[in-house]
Symmetry: C2
Subunit: 344 residues, 2 copies
């Protein structure tokens, strides 16, 4: 069964649209800024006051972990182009163990999708999920689980940069990248610098943060990546009237199938990179995504799916917004948004 | 002893320069983007592989804390105005328990110094110190200390927003702000959302990150706030040729007096807000800063000190870049930079 619901005319248009992005034009903004949204005041009491050393070599001083703490707020930065063309704002939600930096830059220092979509005229909002980056995180007295840390080789083997398990080597010369990969493997170290720890008990708080953002900014288009899709579809099910479209980049996983009908009026674009079927983990996520898409369609919704290799765009990793052809993929998304009348 | 080294002509010019910032002009950028710099690969070995639950309600799965980890990198975001006037880049370093967000916005949603200085024509780089915000943080297996968390009332009483200890109350109506404060007390909650945890054993890593940034971007002007000054002066002592000027906003503390001569060719502006002498903590920091300034001067350097109330700017808290008259203070700094021939 193929889930490629829009046919060859659209596919050809995609390929034509896929010209390299033109760089170096100035960016003119009506405004830029940031804010935090959501959050709550947590009370901590009954914890032992203990002595800590606040400066290396300094004296022991009292540290009281009790009191009120501001927790679970979410950081959002926005860029509003002077030549606005998007009919609604565009929100960009990152994946697991990452922050909004995903969209700002690439490991080899090219422009990210933030700049590209601002240039295309979108009011663009990039956030850090609750618990990550500039959103801050709560103490162990508030969150029961501990943070987990991704080791240096994990994404190389798991995000379809290298040829799966065993493709990593501490010596860059001995690594085995996927032949023809679009990921800037020479700058893998810079990619890993973008990585941040993640907790395992904060899903509800993350979703609450996104709901607060949607309530403030939307109606809008939400572009979501990887774990951001797992959150994003659930947020969309809670606020379907606020979503004018969803762009899901290798969402892992999707929403709740029993709720899929709530998205019947929200056009969805799912984008998958290359070599997905050769990697059990991504094949499994894709299957979940497509099943959810089928459920949305069965309720009368519109779900378009682009498997990039099938439209002639090859070699893309899970981090396609940072791949060398990220401009080409941005153009595919832009074309779809325009076809859905979301862009002037 | 007064440390007000530039005299009334300059002081009058300051007051004249202190017009409210004009908002709503578009911002035209040659480029914007971000990168991470510095960092190292840490090896963790011999730690127990343990079982964790990765999704609430999910199965126990293996978590291996061993391996290589990318740690101690620093996040930097930059905005390069089309109409560049600053002769060198301007770097903005935040204070303790905070991130670069300090400069992006104010709790009540006005423009921060980032926008203001970009509008004034400065290539502006805002970073998150190592360990904070989008710089990520390392596991307890790499950093021996634990993060500490600032409670909700602490900055209210400590940052000269409220009238010192005992001025806080959970009921906003019962709080005791300093009369005439410029801090947007009605939006205190939003200020606390900007707060992030801090570690107590990472000073060397933080300084190493800043040195890496300076080596990449400078010569430049560095504007540093609070704890950022304690780091910033030490970085300047290591790379005096890279610093064209220092703007220290209530630095806490300063550099190492024995090294102060290294800054003899770096003009320094120290800025202090209101009510500093009434608060023992800030009076003590000011004393340390001024003593350091004296040592720089004794070596032939130039250190200008502005006590804002003495030039007619009253009511400023420790977070003066977010106070209601933040534009007025930005103009004071801009005037000084222009007087030092750093602005066309």
């Amino acid at each position: 069964m193929r889930h490629f619901t829009f046919v060859s005319a659209f596919a050809s248009a995609l390929v034509m649209a896929a010209a390299p992005a033109v760089a170096a034009e100035p960016i003119a903004l009506r405004d830029m800024g940031s804010f935090h949204i959501g959050g709550r005041i947590a009370e901590v009491s009954g914890k032992e006051v203990r002595m800590i050393v606040r400066q290396p070599g300094g004296p022991q001083t009292k540290y009281d972990p009790n009191g009120q703490f501001m927790v679970e707020q979410m950081y959002v930065q926005y860029f509003l182009p002077q030549n606005r063309k998007g009919k609604v704002p565009l929100l960009m939600w990152h994946g697991g163990g990452l922050t909004g930096v995903t969209y700002e830059t690439t490991p080899d220092g090219r422009e990210g999708w933030l700049n590209m979509f601002v240039r295309k005229g979108w009011d663009t909002y990039v956030s850090d999920a609750v618990e990550r980056g500039r959103s801050g995180f709560a103490s162990p007295d508030v969150w029961p689980s501990e943070p987990t840390f991704l080791n240096y080789q994990d994404p190389y083997e798991r995000f379809r940069i290298g040829q799966g398990e065993g493709s990593w080597n501490a010596d860059p010369q001995k690594r085995k990248p996927i032949p023809g990969t679009q990921f800037p493997v020479e700058a893998y170290e810079n990619y890993m610098k973008q990585s941040v720890p993640r907790w395992l008990s904060t899903d509800d708080a993350i979703i609450a943060g996104y709901v607060a953002l949607v309530d403030k900014i939307c109606p809008c288009v939400v572009l979501m990546h990887s774990q951001g899709g797992a959150f994003g579809f659930k947020v969309a099910e809670k606020r379907p009237d606020k979503f004018k479209a969803i762009v899901a980049i290798e969402s892992a996983t999707a929403g709740i199938v029993a709720n899929a009908a709530k998205l019947k009026d929200v056009p969805v674009l799912m984008v998958f990179g290359d070599h997905v079927d050769e990697h059990p983990r991504w094949a499994a996520f894709k299957k979940i995504d497509l099943a959810y898409g089928d459920a949305v369609r069965a309720a009368g919704g519109k779900v378009d799916v682009v498997h990039l290799p099938e439209v002639g765009i090859k070699g893309n990793s899970h981090m396609m917004m940072q791949d060398k052809n990220n401009g080409e993929i941005a153009d595919v998304i832009q074309k779809w948004l325009a076809d859905n009348k979301l862009n002037d």
